[in-house]
Point group: C2
Chain length 228, copies 2
């Protein structure tokens, strides 16, 4: 299948690799498949948003949401990165990264210790969103990113709350995933060493929800929380 | 207690706040206590390392280790950030961030949705470590960061592995923690809304270890893995 974006040979279901998204090491771990990238993004709770301030890098954790090929980040209108993406500005160059640690990889050799992980790195320019309709969509996506479907089961933002909230958008154009999966890669001569080797998966999912003390006891736990 | 570092009034057990480590919003969530910072750093598996390349920010997930007031990151001698911190260079300005998501905060209002989290942001200049003794210490710390005590139960790096590995150091000087803890902060007029509200903790810890298929069945699971 030939795509309509990227280079002529670029399939529509992958992101075109660029100098920034082809890693200098372990290029076999890099992937550009959109479905894979979306699944990694959708599973995360926070991203790490990098930008340059006074020539130095800054990396802040923040919530995010995805709508198709757009990522949204929000914050107080007074926060630093949000102030730097005003509508009058040319936008803020950012790097947005999401990482999941799936398992610890314990090898017989110290050198081959590793982790199984899935990460997505997005390069681009963030712009402030001013269109009211897109801001509503973005804010719903941010809430639904925390718990899918939750935006329909909460009171929408009012005028005062909307006025206090800045939303920025980052399009998914220059994107790569990077993964390590599989088992231990020890050297053949180390296999008989007496050290335990294998994978230690990390636990995922919801613990037991704790209702707000002020909650009406008649309010049942929603289905979307009991499935975790 | 008066400290010996930072400003005259700076206690020795906290990091002196700087322009970069005092947040523009929610300053009440910022903390500079060294013990707290260390505990957040020690609980993480990956950090997000930010640096500037060709004027643009780059944020990459990577393993790290801590020895006292020093953080270490390692990688292939060919990888980008490692190449940029050569001993002959003035070092690489970086921002290193570690974040834990502890719970989802579901409010009755979309606006007050949040997460409970603990994060540490370190600003500074990374330098390549060339001293053989410090390199050994750093590599042990990197393995012990994945599983405490593991470096003593694995084959140490040999000459070839050491030659392939670059280590960089970032001192803990300009550091802050940021946290959200506690419950839901809904507006008083929203308390009677029919939406479930509360905290959804996220599960933590080890799942069931999976031994390498080539492991001698006589090799027992070490105690340090069964306690998770």
């Amino acid at each position: 299948m030939q795509g309509t974006t990227g280079t002529p040979s670029q399939p529509a279901d992958t992101y075109p690799p660029t100098d920034r998204t082809v890693p200098t090491r372990s290029p076999d771990r890099a992937a550009y498949d959109k479905e894979l990238v979306h699944s990694i993004l959708d599973e995360g709770y926070v991203c790490h948003l990098g930008f340059v301030r006074d020539g130095a890098p800054v990396v802040l954790p923040t919530l995010y949401g995805r709508v198709g090929e757009r990522l949204y980040v929000h914050g107080s209108t007074g926060s630093r990165p949000l102030r730097m993406t005003g509508a009058a500005d040319p936008g803020l160059p950012v790097c947005l990264t999401v990482t999941h640690v799936d398992a610890l990889v314990l090898a017989r050799s110290a050198f081959h210790h590793s982790i199984n992980y899935r990460s997505v790195v997005v390069h681009g320019t963030a712009h402030e969103v001013t269109d009211p309709e897109e801001r509503r969509t973005a804010l719903d996506a941010l809430v639904d990113h925390v718990v899918p479907g939750r935006s329909r089961d909460s009171r929408p933002a009012n005028k005062k709350e909307l006025a206090a909230t800045a939303v920025i958008r980052l399009d998914l154009n220059e994107v790569s995933a990077k993964l390590r999966t599989g088992g231990v890669n020890d050297e053949p001569e180390d296999l008989a060493l007496p050290h335990w080797a294998g994978l230690v998966p990390l636990r995922k999912g919801y613990g037991t929800p704790v209702a707000d003390p002020g909650l009406d006891p008649a309010t049942a736990l929603p289905d979307y929380l009991s499935a975790g």
